[in-house]
């Protein structure tokens, strides 16, 4: 009886992020209707504002599952977008731009993980170094391009791709790949095992370095797609492009109910649920016309509450299954 009750409680805790999203949606709809807000337009906004975070965070799940942490995702996306834009301006080809964005982001990610492997450093340390390096690189790229403080792709060139349906298509394709490899292939299981208990995983014959490199490659793919969609949405790029993405990804993953320590309780859908919840919360604050500082404080309180609930649900005497 006691076990059954514990089981129900665990399931409720697991469903809490999705339930939170549903409640936020309800509050959003209620306030929107009361304030006569343009709801269809708002939904378009929610997709536009959350989809890039969703894609990058979904890719980043592979890193977080290993118990690692990449602080340079935003800077990597900025550099990838800048290089992609330069490639478009040189070739006038959107396909080349996409390939360059993805290639550049994957290369940056691989560099971080390979450096960590070669020097036997925690991945987090190498991503801090990469953050500084990439921030400097973005300034160099802008200077080399010689068009003031920005690099631009003509709006007309990407206008046709700046639709909700195209973004959803990219998102669906990437999520499908991630769900397949994470939930239905041994890669996901190995990653969860390594993240949950690295020593045990090592003794079982798993190669943590190889898993780390694959994880970073998947994250790079997400960053590259995010960079491409950023160009289609706002084709004027500066050193500040995607500056908030790194933090948004962390918040989304936590909001989505994934433990920051990674391991067996990692789940791909956490990124999507978290990013949508964050965007809905921002929209609610905006509709209430709250001061930016107050909004930030409310978000911080909710963030802490989510982390507390997440930790509470994971305080078990047995290993998660």
């Amino acid at each position: 009886m006691k076990n059954k009750s514990k089981n129900i409680s665990a399931k409720l805790m697991e469903a809490a992020p999705v339930a939170g999203l549903v409640i936020l949606l309800g509050i959003f709809l209620a306030i929107a209707a009361a304030k006569n807000v343009n709801i269809p337009y708002s939904f378009k906004n929610i997709v536009n504002q959350s989809i890039i975070t969703m894609i990058v965070a979904t890719g980043a799940i592979y890193i977080y599952t290993l118990g690692a942490f990449d602080i340079s995702l935003g800077a990597s996306m900025c550099v990838s977008a800048l290089v992609g834009a330069m490639a478009y301006n040189a070739t006038q080809s959107v396909v080349v731009m996409l390939l360059v964005c993805v290639g550049c982001a994957v290369l940056i990610s691989l560099t971080s993980s390979v450096l960590a492997s070669v020097f036997n450093l925690p991945v987090f340390v190498t991503t801090i170094a990469m953050l500084s390096l990439l921030n400097a690189l973005s300034l160099v790229l802008i200077r080399v391009n010689g068009t003031g403080d920005v690099i631009q792709v003509p709006a007309m060139a990407v206008m046709k791709l700046n639709t909700v349906w195209f973004k959803l298509l990219v998102m669906a394709a990437f999520t499908a790949l991630c769900v397949l490899t994470f939930n239905y292939m041994k890669l996901g299981r190995q990653q969860k095992f390594t993240g949950g208990n690295p020593l045990c995983a090592k003794l079982s014959g798993l190669n943590a370095k190889k898993l780390s490199i694959i994880g970073f490659m998947m994250a790079g793919l997400g960053v590259g797609l995010g960079a491409f969609l950023t160009i289609t949405y706002a084709p004027t790029l500066s050193r500040n492009t995607a500056s908030s993405v790194g933090m948004d990804v962390i918040i989304s993953i936590v909001f989505g109910g994934m433990p920051v320590s990674g391991g067996a309780r990692s789940k791909i859908h956490a990124a999507i649920v978290g990013a949508l919840s964050m965007t809905l919360l921002s929209q609610i604050m905006l509709m209430l016309n709250l001061d930016s500082g107050i909004s930030q404080m409310i978000k911080a309180v909710i963030f802490l509450a989510v982390v507390y609930v997440s930790m509470f649900s994971s305080r078990k005497t047995i290993l998660p299954r």
Binding site: Y41, K44, T236, T241, S243, D291
Partner: protein, 397 residues
């Protein structure tokens, strides 16, 4: 499993209940008189914490919102073009009829978006480039731009340096702020300072004089170099906004350099230099009027201030409201506004105090409702005349 399902059913019921409750309370009737209906105006901001940004916001929220039937909706701090697009989308979803922009990552994209969505758009405290104005001047929803144009920024830098050069100072240290991030406003101010030094020192800055200095700084990646300009010397330059120990160390070194007599800042000079400046040296800054800047002038720490006044954003508000009311202010050819506005310059504490008293008032600011009402539906010429008379004395008349 059953409990799990029940939980979801409960959540969904909650959503439906809230939605239905809200739908039943929504709605309202349109009024024939446009002034009777609250006009929602979105404000795009790229800075939410500086004294200047706060004083602008205070003027709109504490004064304008209390005397006009308007509601301002502010964006978060916008750092890139994508954030600007998202903020505009948010304003449109929330039924804003107009947008006033203080954010400049991608102004053409902002204007295009607003034109496409049928929302009035205006630029505050800045202007478009000549090419941009030519492109957008005939857009029906582009209200226009009022603020210091790049020529005014150049002039502000020139006047500040000249003020000290005229007093016989020849050894300078400079803070060039965001010039290394290619921020044009700061590059033009720095170029103006160097141009004044070229004139006074009868020399050149790396082969350039006058407006050519702008191109030289751009070509050097936004960096200003130290060296002799004829008989004038620039003996220390700090740029960027790193706010780390190394950055503060550089500022302290320049401020205390015995070969520097005057410190000139393109902005944030009070943050950059005031804390390190030894007695006897001069400090000039281009910023805004705050209680702190007045106190610094009173203590002799700050010796020259070219400041924007918070009510300077009043005329662009009036032009925007006029457009929403169906009385857009356009040139004889039907084009949007493009008017330049300069700074209030204080060279002593008394002046700064006088300016600040007016500038910080939330009941009787420089541009009151009485004055702004004359701009609603005004002709272009009257509007231009009003904006051109921006000096403290002219406004107080």
């Amino acid at each position: 499993m059953k409990s799990f399902r029940k939980f979801f059913v409960l959540c969904l019921s909650f959503v439906m209940m809230l939605t239905l409750t809200a739908c039943s309370s929504g709605g309202g009737s349109a009024d024939a008189d446009p002034t009777q209906k609250t006009v929602k105006i979105g404000v795009l901001v790229s800075d939410t914490t500086s004294a200047e940004a706060l004083s602008f916001r205070s003027y709109y929220e504490k004064y304008i919102q209390s005397v006009y039937n308007v509601e301002f909706m502010y964006s978060d701090e916008l750092t890139d073009a994508a954030a600007e697009q998202s903020a505009i989308d948010n304003f449109i979803a929330n039924n804003c009829q107009a947008i006033i922009s203080f954010a400049s990552s991608d102004r053409p994209a902002q204007i295009e978006k607003c034109e496409q969505e049928g929302v009035y758009y205006a630029v505050a405290t800045g202007t478009l480039t000549d090419d941009q104005y030519e492109q957008f001047k005939s857009y029906s929803h582009y209200v226009g731009a009022i603020g210091p144009d790049l020529a005014a920024e150049y002039q502000a830098g020139y006047d500040m340096a000249k003020h000290f050069l005229d007093q016989g100072y020849t050894k300078f240290g400079m803070f060039t702020g965001a010039s290394v991030y290619f921020t044009e406003m700061h590059i033009y101010r720095a170029a103006g300072m160097l141009a004044a030094m070229c004139e006074a020192g009868k020399g050149d800055y790396s082969g350039a004089t006058g407006y050519d200095i702008v191109g030289k700084i751009m070509a050097d990646g936004g960096n200003v170099s130290t060296g002799k300009i004829g008989s004038v010397e620039v003996n220390g330059v700090v740029s960027g906004y790193d706010f780390d120990d190394a950055w503060f160390g550089k500022l302290a070194a320049v401020a205390n350099d015995p070969n520097v007599d005057v410190l000139l800042a393109v902005g944030s000079g009070q943050t950059a230099f005031a804390g390190f400046k030894p007695e006897g040296k001069m400090l000039g800054d281009i910023d805004c009027y705050t209680a702190d800047s007045v106190a610094l002038m009173e203590s002799g720490t700050l010796n020259y201030l070219a400041g924007k006044f918070s009510a300077s954003i009043g005329p662009i508000f009036a032009a925007t409201l006029s457009a929403v009311y169906g009385k857009p202010v356009r040139t004889a050819e039907g084009n949007a506004l493009a008017l330049s506005q300069g700074y209030w310059i204080a060279t002593d504490a008394e002046m700064a105090k006088k300016y600040f008293e007016v500038d910080s008032s939330t009941t009787n600011p420089a541009y009151t409702k009485e004055k702004l009402d004359t701009l609603i539906g005004a002709s272009y010429d009257d509007f231009a005349k009003f904006v051109a008379a921006y000096s403290f004395e002219e406004i107080q008349k």
